[in-house]
Structure formats: C-alpha cells, structure tokens
Symmetry: D2
Amino acid sequence: MSSIWSSNIKLSLFGESHGTCVGVTIDGLPPGVVFNFAEIQTELNRRKPGNTCLTTQRSESDEFEILSGYFNDYTTGTPLTVIFKNHDTKSKDYSRLKEEFRPSHADFTGYVKYQGFHDFRGGGHFSARVTAPLVFTGAIAKQLLKIKGIEVCSRIKSIADISDIALSYTEDHRELLRNIQSKIILMVDGMSEELAKLKIEEMRNSGDSVGGKVECFIYGMPAGIGNPFFNSIESQLGSLLFSIPGVKGVEFGKGFEISKLRGTAANDIFYSEKDEIKTRTNHSGGIQGGISNGMPINLVVAFKPTASIFTEQESVNCHGEKIKLQLQGRHDPCIVLRAAVIVEAICAIGILDFML
Amino acid sequence: MSSIWSSNIKLSLFGESHGTCVGVTIDGLPPGVVFNFAEIQTELNRRKPGNTCLTTQRSESDEFEILSGYFNDYTTGTPLTVIFKNHDTKSKDYSRLKEEFRPSHADFTGYVKYQGFHDFRGGGHFSARVTAPLVFTGAIAKQLLKIKGIEVCSRIKSIADISDIALSYTEDHRELLRNIQSKIILMVDGMSEELAKLKIEEMRNSGDSVGGKVECFIYGMPAGIGNPFFNSIESQLGSLLFSIPGVKGVEFGKGFEISKLRGTAANDIFYSEKDEIKTRTNHSGGIQGGISNGMPINLVVAFKPTASIFTEQESVNCHGEKIKLQLQGRHDPCIVLRAAVIVEAICAIGILDFML
Amino acid sequence: MSSIWSSNIKLSLFGESHGTCVGVTIDGLPPGVVFNFAEIQTELNRRKPGNTCLTTQRSESDEFEILSGYFNDYTTGTPLTVIFKNHDTKSKDYSRLKEEFRPSHADFTGYVKYQGFHDFRGGGHFSARVTAPLVFTGAIAKQLLKIKGIEVCSRIKSIADISDIALSYTEDHRELLRNIQSKIILMVDGMSEELAKLKIEEMRNSGDSVGGKVECFIYGMPAGIGNPFFNSIESQLGSLLFSIPGVKGVEFGKGFEISKLRGTAANDIFYSEKDEIKTRTNHSGGIQGGISNGMPINLVVAFKPTASIFTEQESVNCHGEKIKLQLQGRHDPCIVLRAAVIVEAICAIGILDFML
Amino acid sequence: MSSIWSSNIKLSLFGESHGTCVGVTIDGLPPGVVFNFAEIQTELNRRKPGNTCLTTQRSESDEFEILSGYFNDYTTGTPLTVIFKNHDTKSKDYSRLKEEFRPSHADFTGYVKYQGFHDFRGGGHFSARVTAPLVFTGAIAKQLLKIKGIEVCSRIKSIADISDIALSYTEDHRELLRNIQSKIILMVDGMSEELAKLKIEEMRNSGDSVGGKVECFIYGMPAGIGNPFFNSIESQLGSLLFSIPGVKGVEFGKGFEISKLRGTAANDIFYSEKDEIKTRTNHSGGIQGGISNGMPINLVVAFKPTASIFTEQESVNCHGEKIKLQLQGRHDPCIVLRAAVIVEAICAIGILDFML
C-alpha cells in the first residue's frame, strides 16, 4: 500500500511535483451532490503557494480539472477524478537533486526505496503539492459533513515558540474560528499573530525556516461514531494525519499533557443537560474508547520546520561523497501557514468516512 | 472495520474481559517458525496484572492456548488462533455498570454505539485485557524481526511529571534498555524510578491514578522501508498505537518539540561512515518521507491516567439521571507500567508487516 | 491474504480438520440480534457429515461454542467468534499423508506452499470441515436477510449426468424449494432424485465418487444493489463461491448457455407491472452491469467429484518417488449433497454484505 | 467498493465512455521497469474498436497518455496513472438513453443505484471502453510476468454454437497460440474460424449479435502460488474476470464438465519427470486447494451476446411507460473478438499480484 486509502471512501493519489499533474480519484461519493465550486476554490486558495510574501514564491494557479464522476452538474456516484496540471515548474532548479540528498527531505529514503528511479524533481510524488488533491477532497467532505451538521475548523496553535491563546475544549468556537479565516496567520490573538509574522519574516530573511502546530476542532459530532481498537477515531485520523508531509506528532484532547495529570483531574465527569449527556471537562477530546461521545473533537498536529532552507548545508551524494548544498528554488519559510487547511481536509475526509 | 487489521499480516481480535476468553487470529505468518515459548511468556508476564503491588490485584494467569496454525512444533503458515481464557472474573463487581457510565471509560460511547447490547462487564471488548493477544503477537513479531537484525526496545519516559533522563536518538541503547527490563518501572535513572514508585504508591493510597509516556526505539532498521502518504511508517505505527486503550498522543523523533525549532537546527545532516549514510542528529526519528533512513526509529506514546479511580465521582446513568459512583474492583493506579510491552508489541507488528 | 475476507462484514477463518477446532470470527454484525439457534442447528445439520448412509461416516456432532460477541442473548456488535471442537478425529488414518500426495487434493500444493510445515492430517486447514463455521455465518446472514425480505434457496441441479428439472428464472420457487429441504438429495423431481441415489450408492460401493451442480436462487432482492467492475454482484459472489473447496465453475443466469444465444434471444425485455419494472425473461440472472435489477438472482456452481476415492491410485511422495495409494478413512462419495447449504451460506453472506 | 481493486497491486479505474477520458491508477508497480510501448500498443489494438468490419465502427485511436509514475523512461515505483482521452464521441446518439432503458444494459440498474445521476451516455462508467486501461495494465503485467517465465495466452473457444477444436490441458500451446494472434478471430481451426466469421456477418446484417467463450492458458506457473479459501487462485481470478462487462460464467480446468465425472476419471494422477512432479491429466486446471500445482492453468470465460442490437425492442422508460427502442450508434455484433485480450489482461494482473 502507499498512495491508496481504502475505507468507505477510497482515495487514490497520484502525480509528481514537476510532472504533468497531481491528482486523486475519489471512490465512494454519493450520487447527486452539487459541488460548491466557490468554496472548493476558497479552500484551495488557502493551501496555494505564492499568495503571500510569507509563503513560497512558486505561483501555481491551483486550477483543477475534473476528469470523471461529475456530469450535468452533479456527482454521478462513480469514481471522481480530479487533476491539477503543473505549469510553473522550474525543473532545472532541481537538476542537482538527482544525486544529492537534501537534509531531512525524502531524497535519500526515496533513492533507496525506489533504487534511484523516482522522480527527484521537487520531491516528485513526495511533494507537498500532492496535498492539493487532498484539499479538494476535503472541501467536498466538508460540504457533505455540513449537511449532517458537522463542521471542521482549525487554527494555528503555535509558530516556533509563539503560542496562540488557549481555547476551551467544551465550548463551541465555530464563529471565532470562521472569523480568523481571512488572516494570513490563523491565530485568534492579534499579538501572537504579529509576533509570528515577525518570526517568519526573520526566518525568510535569514534563509531559515520554522515549524508550528495546527489545532483542529470538529463540532456537531454525534455520539457513538467510531470503533474500538484498529478503527478508532484516533487510529483513523492519526493514520491520515501522519500521511501529511512534515507531521511528526498527533495528539487528541489534552494529549501529551494528560500523561502528567492524575485521574481525578483527567477524568471527564458526565452530566445531563436538556436530555443530552455531556462532560464538564473534555480532556478526552470528544473520544472515549475510540468512539465519539458527542463533545467537540479536538486534536493538535505538530509540523517540523520546512526542510528546504537557504543557508548552506553539508550533505552527501548518492556515491556517499561529502558535498555542500546551497538550495535554490522557492520554498515556504513556514509550511504551517498553508497546513491548516490540509489538516482540516484530512479530518473532514476521515470523519465523513465514518458517517457513510 | 473495528477489530480486524488487514495488511500483509492480518489480525482479528476478539473477546471480552469477563466473557469466555480473549484472543486473536493471526493470518500471514510464514510457515516453519518455531516459537520461543519462554520469551512469549516473559513478554506476557510484563503485561500481566497482579505481578506487583503497584499494579491491579486481578491475578490472571495469562496462560494461552493455541487453537490452530501451530503443528508439530512449527507454524503451519495457515491462520494461527490463540486464546486466553478468563478465570478470575468477578463480574458482580461490574453489575452496576449496566446502566451507569464511568467517567472517561467507554461505557457511555459503547452504550450509544451498540445501543445497550455490548458486554458492559469490565469494559467488555474495550478492556485492556484484549491487549494480551496483541502482546502474544508482538512476541512472535519480535522473534521474526530479530532474525532480520531488528530489535524493538522501550522504556518509560515519564510518570506524571517525573521524567527519566533523555537518551540520544543517534546512539544504540539496546544493551542499556535490555538491562532495565527486570525493573518494575522501566526507567534508566534510579532516582527517577524511586520518585515514580513513590508517586504511584501515593496514587494507590489516595484512590487516584496517574498517566505517563512510553518511549520506543527500533534498532537495526534498514533504509528504504515504508511508503509516502497513507502507508508511511508514521501512518502505520500511528494507526496501530492509537488502537491501544488509553493512548492520547503519538510523536516520532523530536515530535512536538520539533515544531519549535528552526530548520537549521531541525534538519538532520547526512554524512558518510564506512560506506553507510547516516545523519549527525536524528530529529526525524529515523523516518523521512514516511520511509526509514537507516537511523534508529524512535517514538513516544502518551497514556492518560487510568480512568478507574477509587474516589467517589459524579456521573449519569443511561436514563440521564445524576448518580454518585464509587468504583469497586481491581485497577492499576498507573497503566503505563504494563503499557511498555504493549507499545513494543504494536511497533514490532507494524514493522514486521513492512518487512514481509 | 488467505483466510480473511474483509468487506463490510469481515470473516476470519481458522482451524484444521484434526486440530483442536475450526472456527470463525465475524466482525461487523449489528448489535441486538437474537440468534435463532434452532435454525442455525438445522443449517449445520444439513452440512453435517454422517447423517445419512450416502455421506461420510465421520460423525462430528457439529456442536458450536460461541466465544465472544454474544451476551445476555443478543449480539453485542463487537467481534463474534464461534468454534467447533474436533472430537472424532482418527488422525492415524492420515499418518501416511505426511509425505504422500493424494491425487487432486491440496496435499502437494500445500506441501510446496507451506514448505512441508502444514497440518497434513485430513487436509488440515484445507479441509471441508472449515466450511462448518461458514454455514454458521450463513445461517445468521439468512436470518438478517429475512428481515429485509430476502431469501436464499438452493437445490441440487445435477449429480453426475442426472439433472433435475429446469426451473424458470422469472418465477418465485420459494415454496417449492422449502418443501424439498427435508430430502436427502435436494432435487425437485422424484425420479431424478431416485436415479441420483442409485448413482451415489453405486459410487460408494465401487469406492468411487461423483460430482454435481448446485443451483441457488435469491428472492426478494431490491434493484440497485451492487457495483460496476471489481465489486459487482458476480465478482463478490464469484470470489466467495470459488473459495468453497471443490468448486470449479460458477455461472449467473443463463451462464455458459448464453454464449450460444443471439442478442435478440438473450436480451431481457423490460416491462412494467403494478409500478414495478420487471423483465420478461431473466437470462441475466437478476444482475445487469454488476447491479441487481429486482428480478430473482440465480446462479449455478459446479463441484468436482470427491477427490478421496477408495480404489487404488498411483501417485508420488515428497521425494518424487512413485507410490501406490489406497486411501483409508471416511469420505463422501458425493460432496454435493452437503454442499448446497454451503452455497446458500456463501451467497447469504455476500448479499448481506452489500446490504449493510 | 466499486472501481478500486486493492491487493498487492492496487487499481483505481475511472472515467466514462463519453466524458473527458477513461483511465486507471496502478499502485504497486516496482521501480525501474522500462515499458515496451510497441507491445502495449499491440495489446491495445487487439481491444480497439473499429479495426475490422466485424467490430463496431467507432474509431477511437486508443492513444494513451501517462500522467504520472513514469520518469526518464522508467517506472518510478510511485502511482502510475494513464488516461485515454475520448475523441470520437457522438453523444447525441445516446440522448434518448437519459430516460429509456436498453434491455440487458446497465441503464436501469445504474438509474436505480445512482438515482438518475449517472452519466448515461454510451453506458458511462459501465462502458466496455473502461476496459482499455485494464488492457494497458495487463500489457505491463504480461511484460513483468514474462521475466518470471510466465506467459498468459488465449483463444476464442467458441462463437455462438461454433466451437474451435479442443486443446489438451497438459501440453504447452504457447507457439500455437502466438501464431493465431494476427487472426481476426483467434481460433486455431481454420474451418471454425470461417464459420464464425459468417455467423458474425450474418448477425451484423440482421442487426443482431452473438456471444461466445474465451479460453485462457497460463504457462510457466510455478507450484505453490495462491491460497486456500478467500484468496485462492480461482477466487482472485474469478472475482477479476466477473468484473469484465458481459461475463456470465467462469470455469477452471474441466469446469462444469467435471461435475459429470467420477472421481476415478476426474482425479489428476501425479507422476515424477526429471525431478518435477506433474499430473497425467489436468482436469484441475493447474490449481488444487486454491494453489498452483505447476501444471498449466486454464480457464474459460462465457460472454453474453452484445446487448446493443439494431432490431426494434420493447422496453420501458424511467416513468415505467412502455416504449419502442430502435438503437442507433456503433456496436460490435460480437464483443468476444475484442474480449480475448481483456481476459488475458485480467489474468495477467491477477497472477502478477500473487507473485509480488
């Protein structure tokens, strides 16, 4: 298995950063769905490179072309394939990469696994550009979830060591989070946002990069969705989230912090309100025994700093010889800015899959 | 999907805490393997409740019975089924749970999902007892990995806010980690161990519980194993690790900390040593682009405090009525002590699956 | 993959003919189902060896034991495991088979695939005894289908060259087929039945065996179930039916005969009756484009003669040496008698899977 | 599941007959494979419509475009996507089909399943044009199998009631079958071929159609490949073969005929020759217990006559009203001529999958 995800919905990802296109086939969508193309484009724009001076200067149009599964303005119910053609590909930027391994990229591991035959240009199939089809899929998933009253929102929880304010896990922050969508840095607190901007600019100017965390909230989730063990909500979302390039950590609810708590503090006490069973705290992140309990689901995803930096680095080539690498090309000093929409997309896909 | 995991190896988990037995069918083992039963039992003993005053007093013998797939002292290559019969089940302890929801347990979510028909006794199919078959499977996986020169080790990284000393990600700690296996608390540092013991005793005495973290190291891993996207090493191990009851966070390499670093600090610089390509640091945890790079793989798993505590708690019953809960029964004040072997087992299964 | 079938329902088969037991884990059953144990036993008795002089003299009680997933007289919704313990195993009958290959059995292919480590006693995991858990599963599937108004019936279409009368594919033969269930040979026509009995007796007396065909009808199937291509009704049922030991052919509707027809004769003309769309003929067997059209589904399965015969046969052993084989043991001269209920079971499982 | 097949190789089919294109993503190919494009085109030409007066007059160029997974003249090892653009689409021919159901087509079942939203033009996703990507995949599979010494050949066994001569199952007919590849009708016997041609011409002239059977042989297969039960060779190939539009029956070895034989006649007697174990007859078709025995594998597939005929037919429309249908458009009077290469492709894919 590699680029196929097969559950109730099935996804088949394909394409390379500097090949003809990247794309996905989505199998399992219901028939008769009318796409909101404006919303799809809005989501894609959130991921698109080149839309701010804080992100990479590569300016892909991110225009998609639906090859199948959409007919007379409705989904057909048969496989939907969408592609994103690659236009602005400066492959010569990458010509040295055929033999030279960029630190913390997949150049070396790809070289070993594919015995030197992989498309090395711009990361090839490992490129973050392959997430464009995922964002497309996520936009559709969100649209289908909204009909069921479920909404997936996110924000940037931190950039480097600059953290946004904490948000309670029991309340509904939908409106708050919708309001920050137009920001370049999706933080609630203006001061943190400003500091983060400065940090990213500093990184860009010094040819460096920085990581961060994305927090995702799923509202309107009914209780009783998910499974124990191998197909728990955490397993399914965790598996999908760890598919996003650059993710090194995933936590649900109180996450790593909960390991420091006592049971008396960590347990979420049940109470009844208007015929609904709720919990006073939500350290479990809305999931108990792998199954939703009706409280908001929340999770945090840690992204490493962009591996592509513009200070000279030591490395080796495929002959094991020591080299000096001075990267050229266009890269994000902070992929987290563009990652929030991918995290939302992935969560929307994973949750929709449970609801079909 | 729920209790079946289906990759190159396929696992089918079954059973309930207070039913006839718990067990697993393992499909995909090679034929001709001689089990090291002493090692299997050692692994099971590490998970077994009741073997120290720091863990639950339930004394299951954890004796297993192989029902199929093992013939004339060899695996046959056809499905191997193993069961663990339940003997020491005090079901009356749980009789109230039919209608009452223990905080942060799966009682409520299971009630909703299974419409009240699930086996509520001792957590039923949600019980940590179902991990005994996983430890059995892990012991076999470890044995098969050892032939390929791969070893999975672990230690307790922290209990509550008491952390063991840090271990470098580039060095091989196999011997160190083997040496602590006989300890009750698998920490390297004696002082931390003592403090953790005191903390757990305090918790038990006060009817409370506490969480912690397990760190896992995989040594001897060749480069080039894994896949980009949906079947990356992180996706596969992440998915399996989030199947373990009580896990709320998983991170690889530098994990959540890496989100605070600059690219210049986070990138793992390649160098060549004796015809082998290595990295000077290993913040990536041995994985780049979802594929192993030949450095040790390492990961940390966060466990919540045992939800079963013995101080009175508020809750609701299935009629939505407010109740007071005073748990009876036998529980671990700190499941992390018994969790390390489960984390190892899960990692061994996930890695072996890539190697078949 | 081998003994796990993984769709909406997941089955994990295990066990060997002369080991501890055979069994299955069923994952994906809804919670709250009350089993009709009398019906399950009736179905099992239809498959059971030793219940007539026309079948093998091995007298297994075919008593099952549910290990998990059934609690307080209801399915729990979590994995249901059932085992059939092996009692009447005369393993010494098979001792020579360790090294000698019975013609048209899996002794040789199993020996090669499992490198000599498989359980050779009585066919081991290849044994038709492993179908007992499938019949159990089928009995449950039938019960769940009946609630949806769907019924799976069968009859023996032929034994050797003795054919039962033809049944129209457009009419509902439920009552007719129910009425023949008490017969030893499930044929409609009494004369064919008598001839078939004589044939089987002749085979038994001469130490020979004979094959036959089973025809299966699925009534009450709504239109619109199934899929094009890889998960068509024919693909799903075909795949499952070819899992039954001894099956060498599967056809739907007019099957092989349709290849001889002209389109004008083969096409099923649509007409409307009481707001329902039907077809005047049903050469398609109720399936068009892989999807049900609301007409009865019908299919025929061809079984080879029992490979175990009692006349001396030439063969080779695992050293490639020529040998003479004179089989001992107890075998059916005609497995088709016991196969009808297995075909029904498999079809019920396959169809239920589409309906969940 | 529907248009995704997921085993060691994974296929994701997409596209509609009169949409933008049809295509497939193949996941799981090894890296470093150089395609023989001449052979791929030869295979595609065998399936191509319009290349003889005996087949449909639609003249698709069947030119393919590789979108991903092939770089610098080698497979990369990451997903390979290929599309076939639709050029010669006369969609107005099909405009009436929006509401009218052609007999024995998927118009009605598709209408019900997809609630009227499916692409009805020329069968949409149900169209045999979707098999072009399968033939492409098969051509690659054949190339990879050839390296392992395995060859998949076929011939037309019968058209209507005109049968080609019988070929023994024990001998190797590779050369014979290669030699007939240039024929329009892939029959060995010249007389049968002539009769079949006349029959097909007669059908075309009378606006009728006719079915037939394809026989497939797999040579060079090592013993020990396959599995018992759900993933037997018969299950895997059966499932894939029943995915081909128009297939109504599949049989292995002696197939349906074996049901009429006695065990003494049906059993394949083992003997030893030059250190190889063989069978004197091969009624099992090279498969015992779901696993190859080293003898040639053979199977027969029954195709129904083309449902599209040009004589007026009665039918109903989606309002249940009686209509008269007089089909326009371009269709094969006998799809079997073009089906042989599809059967070969499917078998090559299914067998390669076992060998990876």
